[in-house]
Symmetry: C2
């Protein structure tokens, strides 16, 4: 599906008024089902939707990395996807009732406690990366963000090895972009261990949790982290690098991985 749409706008420039054709980014409602049972509706960019479906369910703990997925089928106009599992599925009662999802680029469970949310082991990888490699990966990442340049409306994310980008994706939501990467890794059996994840967006606690759960040791961004993300990163032994711009970067946690 096309990810941008042309439309006529009125542009003012230094007082001069013109009608102009412009490109804007698409936003689509996309409903996920497991075995035909409705789970959630996301607002997202209409690409890599199968990966978004699987990545979201994985990040939310509704499926595990060894869950047998029989088929992911996209519905009419790609407005929904049904993820068919090789077994019965019951939505955990607390998914709807307790572990509520928040607004505003954020989501959390009730009386949210980072330690509760991270129900996984710290990332104990000895994986390291050179300072120069971080700079080069961010440069490649920036160059790939073509849709962003065209429309100014999307976030990007990428899974990288030490030398290059392996998977790249874009979405209007920074959480969705990360979930698309994680879903693609699961479906294509691409390992996330000893890899670097790159994001165009702010690193908040939820982004950090997604990355930790997949045992990714390093996350890099052009943007800022929040204090909660840094606190979690330190605790979960993830190396969080922000403000990677030009030849500069800030390492907020576990700097031993950057050499």
């Amino acid at each position: 599906m096309n990810q941008t749409k042309e439309l006529n706008i009125v542009q003012f420039n230094s007082g001069e008024k013109n009608i102009k054709e412009d490109l804007i980014v698409k936003e689509t409602p996309f409903t996920l089902l497991i075995n035909g049972q409705e789970i959630v509706t996301l607002l997202c960019s209409p690409n890599k939707l199968e990966y978004l479906a699987v990545g979201f369910l994985l990040s939310e703990g509704l499926i595990e990395s060894d869950t047998m997925i029989k088929r992911v089928s996209l519905g009419k106009d790609e407005h929904y996807a049904n993820v068919e599992l090789d077994r019965d599925f019951q939505v955990p009662q607390d998914f709807f009732q307790k572990r509520l999802i928040s607004s505003g680029c954020g989501r959390g469970s009730s009386f949210y406690n980072p330690q509760d949310v991270i129900d996984c082991e710290p990332v104990n990888s000895g994986f390291q990366i050179g300072y120069k490699q971080v700079i080069d990966l961010m440069k490649e990442f920036q160059e790939k963000s073509a849709l962003f340049k065209k429309t100014g409306g999307v976030h990007s994310a990428a899974l990288c090895n030490l030398n290059e980008i392996e998977i790249f994706t874009e979405d209007i939501g920074r959480h969705n972009a990360i979930d698309k990467i994680l879903g693609e890794c699961l479906m294509k059996k691409i390992s996330t261990e000893n890899k670097v994840i790159s994001t165009s967006g702010r690193i908040s606690s939820e982004i950090l949790i997604k990355v930790t759960k997949r045992k990714i040791p390093i996350i890099i961004s052009r943007a800022a982290p929040t204090d909660l993300a840094v606190e979690l990163a330190e605790k979960m032994r993830v190396t969080l690098i922000g403000f990677v711009r030009g030849k500069r970067m800030n390492i907020y946690s576990q700097p031993f991985r950057v050499i």
Copy 2:
């Protein structure tokens, strides 16, 4: 509560490595209750939390603009707020079960249909603004975004009249920033009609819906809109102006309000 936190980071700059003190933005889990009943947990910036509570409940349709609010009390460490109403309250069954909230800066109901979501009248205001006034408001708005400049981590929103900013707020989430404005308007009985709302963030469908429900005729942003937001704005007769930068702006819908 302080909105930023100091911490020591490792900074690389052109290959040189230094330990440096840095400011990062806070991210706090904040749980909302109505009459003691838990509703949702948001991840947000710890300021204007009473307004966020009321604004969120208003945007979600859990309270109406004429609902009698007896008291909004903040709990220990400001990690929750209880909104006491002057009447009994039952969470609508479909709030938990059907109208699910999405991840990644987005939220929607099942098989989301913009027409279903907008259960309000179009904004039929004849309110107009001068091209130059939009430029000036955005300039004032940019100057006020001090926290963003310091930490690179937050969004801003403002309610403006034709000449100046009336209410200004910041939050790590662009939805939260708008809800804080709307909550403050409700609690202080400030009219939102014939006003302009300004946001630092992308204008997606949900932002547009919040603004429409409060009958705000004009929304302006330095950033881009999505196609769904533009479609809704046209239908709901809201003037959507994006990319307000320097002396330039793009008007995506209802341009008759800019003179």
